[in-house]
Assembly symmetry: C3
Homo-oligomer: 142 residues x 3
């Protein structure tokens, strides 16, 4: 697989909860982190997702929010992964920020340059990557 | 809270409709505007969302579409907020556009430079910000 | 309609599957391709979506992933459209890539410059555009 998504997390299905249209999939990453994905029920069935199965979770970098101070707030986003900024690459409007998690996973986010300034994003700064479950695409071995 | 999302709207929960996997949350913004968010049922429960509760709705700027002529079309997107372009900041490929709503809320969108040209986006031009409910993240006081 | 979304696909509703909160809508594009969209049930009702009805599917360019080698993987994303890269316009951090489908449809994606390099994206290269169903907004004639 060669795909443009900057974030490709390998893991194992922990649980599948089926609704009428969508399904919620819990994933244990190899790094020890956990992810939740919302996909369609049809996809969960056609990919035959079941606990123990291997999956790769794909997330585009612009779908990742970054938070440097989460005090005083609890978010609906199911994936809040705390780590440390590794690199910041500024562009004209947006910047690419890499956050390293304790387990070794690296998450790439695209945020505005304004956000980089406001949040004081720089190498070494603690930051939490926030990913909404509905923005995770899952892949399984063919 | 310090978060990279350019759009942070404070409001009050108006209604919560629960499905098997997801929940729909109606929000009354302080500015008088209304928003709809789709989050997981698990999040609605863990955040204890209920009518009257305070929330902040977070939306990344690249998740906002802009429309300058909505005549002849009705959209599935639950959030269509009509206002006026305040600023346009062009980059190499994308531009950041700020739309001011009548109630005082400002919405930041990232759209392509091509879209800025085609839509004639410039300060003073009427524009509608279009946000899909599934792209809204909610936060509650911890 | 004048809207910033780079991707506007005209088609006809093939099927609507209703859940408690969301609905899945199958769409036959004029080009012969098929799309799946997840919208709220409330939107499906208010737009009176039913088989045979005309719709336009809107997708922002940053919501499109590109894949050049899909061997060995099956994705949960319901929309995987195989075509050929037509143009690549690099920016500071991101690039705009246009993929032409056999039926004539063109899909615009914004991906990072790193992805362009890794995937070898250039005019003439076969590429698959991957769009999650929950990232499709539908419009109907007013």
């Amino acid at each position: 697989m060669k795909i443009s998504a900057r974030n490709k997390f390998e893991g194992t299905v922990a649980a599948v909860t089926a609704g009428a249209v969508n399904a919620e999939v819990g994933i244990d990453l190899a790094s020890g982190d956990k992810l939740v994905a919302i996909i369609t029920l049809e996809s969960a069935r056609s990919l035959q997702l079941a606990p123990g199965g291997k999956v790769v979770a794909l997330v585009k970098a612009p779908w990742v929010m970054l938070m440097t101070d989460g005090s005083g707030i609890r978010l609906s986003a199911r994936n809040c992964l705390a780590g440390t900024v590794k690199t910041v690459t500024p562009g004209a409007v947006n910047a690419e920020v890499v956050v390293a998690l304790p387990g070794g996973t690296e998450i790439v986010a695209i945020v505005t340059n304004d956000a980089v300034t406001e949040l004081g994003l720089a190498p070494g700064v603690p930051a939490t990557a926030v990913i909404k479950a509905s923005n995770v695409i899952l892949g399984v071995p063919a």
